[in-house]
């Protein structure tokens, strides 16, 4: 609606496009000026050009791809594990009202706890290698997935379920033919938040203690005070996260922020 109002005022200088370009330029300028200002230690905020060069150097080094491979493997494995178990739990809690009444509070209240504190236990159980990272990533991903699916199941229209009963569908047919199609928005939201938190889970545990992976690599550059390279790794991590998001958006039609009039945040009902 604001857009309509806006188009009416063609004379305004600050159009959306110009504002966005100005925003990017301003952010870059603030970064460069802060780096030059001398307020920060030397080289803490390297110029964007040096970061770009570091990104280029990483892209042609073999080591980078080894670390990238480790992280991508960890994230994907934990994402799949968390999404599958979360979906199963969410379906069970949503379909059986009794199970939902009893067990959903556990998941609801455990969801916003900082999962990283489990890492010491997971390190003992699964070792310093990929196992502990995958475990933390899956635990993180499980909660948003289960909660979104359970809520989605409860929002499935009773009319559809009655239609299903009229056709005397079996339980598995009801799930496949009624619940799953109606659940696509919930699945999309769950997957999107789930992917973000599995990335956080895997990467934070790599920062803490690891022998390989992007988080490990960023930490190593940080220790060597190679800040441009460290930032280059961080930028690749964020590019990876948004790529994952884009892939989910492509395969599952997302209810975009505009459709609902409000942005859906984690822990907001």
């Amino acid at each position: 609606m604001a857009a309509v109002e806006y188009i009416g005022r063609k004379t305004a200088f600050w159009t959306v496009g110009r504002l966005r370009i100005a925003g990017v330029i301003a952010a870059l300028a603030v970064w460069e000026l802060a780096g030059l200002s001398g307020l920060f230690f030397n080289d803490v905020l390297p110029s964007a050009f040096r970061i770009l060069r570091a990104m280029g150097q990483l892209l042609v080094s073999r080591e980078f791809y080894e670390h990238l491979g480790v992280t991508v493997f960890e994230v994907l494995t934990s994402f799949v594990l968390g999404a599958v178990t979360g979906t199963a739990a969410g379906l069970a809690l949503g379909i059986s009202r009794r199970a939902g009444d009893i067990f959903e509070p556990f998941i609801h209240y455990l969801a916003p706890t900082p999962k990283i504190v489990f890492l010491p236990i997971l390190l003992v159980l699964f070792g310093v290698g990929m196992g502990s990272k995958i475990a933390l990533g899956s635990i993180s991903c499980f909660f948003p997935m289960a909660l979104n699916i359970a809520a989605g199941v409860r929002e499935v229209s009773p009319t559809l379920l009655r239609v299903g009963r009229t056709f005397s569908l079996t339980r598995s047919q009801t799930i496949r033919m009624i619940y799953l199609p109606a659940l696509i928005p919930a699945v999309a939201t769950g997957l999107r938040i789930g992917l973000a938190v599995s990335i956080v889970g895997c990467l934070l545990s790599e920062y803490k203690l690891a022998r390989a992976g992007m988080g490990f690599l960023a930490g190593q550059y940080g220790d060597k005070f190679a800040i441009a390279h460290m930032l280059a790794v961080l930028i690749f991590i964020f590019i990876l996260a948004s790529l994952g998001n884009a892939v989910i958006a492509r395969f599952v039609r997302l209810p975009g922020p505009g459709d609902r009039g409000s942005v859906r945040l984690a822990f907001d009902k």
Binding site: A2, A3, Y6, A12, W14, T15, V16, G17, L19, R20, G23, F41, V44, L45, R97, R98, D101, I102, F103, P105, Y109, L110, P112, T113, P114, I116, V117, F118, P120, I121, L123, V124, L125, P158, R192, A196, V197, I199, V200, L203, L204, Y207, K208, G215, A218, G219, G222, I227, M230, L231, L234, F238, S242, P257, S262, V263, L265, A266, F267, D268
Partner: protein
């Protein structure tokens, strides 16, 4: 949807079943650990975790650690609230900026910003400010989004009443817009505080500085597993309690406005 079948059967109240499930799990763990089915060193029995808990309360500085974590999270959330509400207000009154940047803000709110922590570590060093900055960074975007949403949703009739009384823009904001959007702002701050606590505990754990996160990291480094498990369960318990209280508070606030 009505399940008349279930109500005719004898059913235990959910709260009791939840309690029984927890008690059962704890009992099972105690037996498994005591009889050597699971390694009692790396997964100590609940009884020794309880002893560990008494020990970190008495001599491990659990209370102090909790106070530090909460103070840090509150400070981060206060910074986040100031910046968040201010940017929400700007995006509300400057429509073009709202159009241009709100989707960016939403992307930031769901982006894994905590992963930027190595950058903040080199800027601020291994101290409390890194933690405050990470907490504030995590909670500003959701607070800003919710503030803008609340301000956008103020009923035009209220604004017209303000205009009828010839309120200055400042009065219009403090006497009408701010109170009317308070429920949404409160939701934003609640979510922001949760984000802040998650980030604060996480970064404390990573850099070994500060409150509860640091406590767990230290106990883990010392291989003191009964105390470490106690610390972990305590953090989980505290964040559950915190989430529960703020959720109830929000419900109460929403039903009274």
């Amino acid at each position: 949807m009505a399940r008349t079948m279930a109500s005719t059967r004898l059913t235990l109240p959910p709260l009791l079943i939840r309690f029984l499930v927890i008690a059962g799990l704890v009992g099972l763990w105690e037996i498994a650990s005591g009889s050597g089915w699971i390694n009692a060193f790396t997964a100590p029995a609940p009884s020794s975790v309880w002893k560990g808990f008494e020990k970190i309360v008495a001599e491990g500085g659990l209370g102090e650690a909790m106070a530090i974590t909460f103070a840090t999270a509150l400070m981060s959330a206060a910074i986040g609230a100031v910046f968040g509400i201010a940017s929400g207000y700007i995006l509300h009154i400057w429509k073009a900026a709202g159009e241009a940047y709100t989707s960016w803000l939403a992307a930031l709110a769901s982006a894994p910003l905590v992963l930027l922590y190595p950058l903040f570590l080199v800027i601020f060093g291994r101290n409390m400010w890194t933690i405050v900055a990470m907490g504030a960074l995590g909670c500003t975007p959701p607070i800003a989004l919710k503030a803008k949403e609340g301000l956008d949703g103020v009923k035009p009739v209220l604004l017209n009443v303000g205009r009828t009384f010839n309120l200055t823009p400042k009065q219009q904001f403090w006497m009408i817009m701010f109170p009317a959007s308070l429920p949404s702002i409160f939701t934003g701050i609640r979510i922001g505080l949760l984000f802040a606590i998650i980030n604060v505990v996480g970064v404390e754990f990573l850099v070994n500085v500060g409150g509860l996160g640091q406590l767990i990291a230290n106990l883990g480094d010392r291989f003191d597993y009964p105390q470490m498990y106690a610390g972990i369960f305590f953090v989980i318990l505290v964040s559950v309690a915190f989430f529960w209280i703020t959720e109830k508070l929000e419900k109460w606030l929403l039903s009274n406005t």
